[in-house]
C-alpha cells in the first residue's frame, strides 16, 4: 500500500490552523489527518473538454459593453508539475476584485465602487506547453475584518486542476513589492519564505505591451504526476 505521489511536496502548504488568520481557529481540524494510500480514486481527477472555454473568457476587459477602469495587465505563465513537466489541458480559473478593491459579490459591501464593466472572473485551458494567458485589471487592496486596520494585499485567486484530484490547487497570486505583505496573515500563513515568494508574480517587460498593458509572469507548480519512491533522484 505504497503512496504514489510524494507527500513531502505538500509541506509548502500553510497549516490549517494559523490563529493570526482568525477564521482558521474554528475551521481547522483538531484531530490528526489520517494518511491513506493513493488509490484510483485519488490518482484520477476531472478532465475538462475544450468546448466549454470561450476565447473571451481569458480577457476580463472585454466581457462588458465598455472597458473596465484601472491598470490593464497581462498575466501569463506555465502550469507545471513539480518535476518541471508542463500540464496540458489544465483548466485555470481566476477571480478577483476590481481596481477599487471591490468584488462583484453580494456579501462584499465595503464602500468602494463597483465597476459596471468588470466582473472579475476568467478561465483558460492550457495548451500542450502548459501555458496560460489572461488580460485583466490590476485589483486594488481591500479592507477585511480580521484585525484592526486589516487590508489584503492586491491578489488574484487561481484555481487549477492537474491530472489527478491530488494535484487540485486553489491559490492566490500577489504583486511584487506590495507594502502589505508583512501585515497579511493569509500570505504569511505559509511558513516557508521561499514557498511564500512563489506566490508573487514577476514583472516582465517582454510580456508588457507598449501603450497597452503591463506584463507579469506567474508559474503555477502542481504535485508531480509519476513520482514514486522508486524513481531515481533528479540531478539539479
Amino acid at each position: 500500500m505504497a503512496l504514489i505521489l510524494p507527500t513531502e511536496s505538500t509541506a509548502a502548504h500553510p497549516p490549517s490552523l494559523h490563529p493570526a488568520y482568525t477564521s482558521t481557529v474554528l475551521r481547522a481540524p483538531q484531530q490528526p489527518l489520517i494518511l491513506v494510500p493513493h488509490t484510483l480514486t485519488e490518482l484520477t481527477g476531472p478532465v475538462y473538454g475544450h468546448g466549454k472555454v470561450r476565447e473571451t473568457d481569458a480577457d476580463l476587459t472585454v466581457q462588458h459593453a465598455g472597458e473596465p477602469l484601472g491598470e490593464r495587465i497581462i498575466i501569463t505563465g506555465r502550469v507545471l508539475d513539480e518535476d518541471g513537466r508542463p500540464v496540458p489541458n489544465a483548466l485555470v480559473e481566476l477571480w478577483q476584485a476590481n481596481a477599487a478593491g471591490r468584488y462583484v459579490h453580494v456579501r462584499d459591501q465595503h464602500p468602494a465602487p463597483l465597476d459596471p464593466n468588470f466582473t472579475g472572473a476568467g478561465r483558460y485551458l492550457t495548451g500542450e506547453d502548459g501555458r496560460y494567458r489572461f488580460t485583466t485589471i490590476r485589483p486594488g487592496a481591500y479592507p477585511w475584518r480580521n484585525h484592526h486596520n486589516a487590508w489584503r494585499p492586491a491578489h488574484i485567486h487561481f484555481s487549477v486542476f492537474g491530472p489527478s484530484f491530488l494535484s487540485r490547487l486553489v491559490t492566490q497570486m500577489y504583486f511584487p513589492g506590495d507594502p502589505l505583505f508583512p501585515f497579511d496573515p493569509i500570505f504569511n500563513g505559509i511558513p516557508d519564505e521561499k514557498a511564500r515568494e512563489r506566490l508573487i508574480a514577476r514583472f516582465d517587460l517582454e510580456t508588457t505591451q507598449p501603450e497597452w498593458a503591463l506584463g507579469y509572469q506567474f508559474d503555477i507548480v502542481l504535485r508531480g504526476r509519476e513520482a514514486t519512491p522508486m524513481e531515481e533522484p533528479h540531478e539539479h
Partner: protein, 201 residues
Amino acid sequence: MSTDSTRPEGITPSQTVGPFFHYGLTPGTAYPHVPVSADGHVAAPGTPGERIVLTGRVFDGAGEPVPDAMLEIWQADADGRYAHPGDGRARQSNSFMGFGRSDTRADGTYRFETVKPGPVPGPGGREQAPHILVAVFGRGMLKQLFTRAYFEDEATANAADPILALVPEARRGTLVATRHGDTYTLDIRLQGEGETVFFAV
C-alpha cells in the same frame, strides 16, 4: 525533452478560496462555465445507475453552519469506472464525468444530484466500497480538506474497505452517509465533537 533545467523549486502553496468565490467558481450564479449542469446536477438525465442526492451541512468548531464553503466531489460511475485516462477501464463514450461542485447556503447546506458509484479497485488487489471523494474549501481554510462519503446501506462492503479500515472504528461513522429514500445525508464537521475524518493524501 530535458526537464531538469526547468525543474521548479517546489509546488505552489495553497491559499484560501476566500468568501467571494461564487461568481468565479460555482454553478447557479454568474459563473458561466458550467462543468456540471446548474444546481449541483452531476449526472445528466439518462446516465445509467441509481439516481441519488448527496446532501448535508458543514459546521465549524462552535457548531455553527459554514455559509461560505465550497465542496467538490469526484466519483466513479455506477460500474465503478472513473472518467479519466488513468482508469484503463473507463468507457470512451461515457457522458458521466463524475465531478461536481456546490457552494454551501446560509444554513451550511450543500447538495449534489448524481448516481450512486459502484465499487472501485483498491490497493493490493482489494476492492473499495462505493464511495465519493470530497474536497472542502472555504474562507478560513488555507488548504482544502479531503474526506470521503460512504453509504450506510453498503455495510458489508464498508466492513471490507481498506481505507475505512485505517480509520479508528469510533470515527468511521463520520464518513458514512445515512439514507432516506433516494437521499444520502452526510454532515461535515470541520472541528470538535464528531469531527469528520480528513485524510492526508
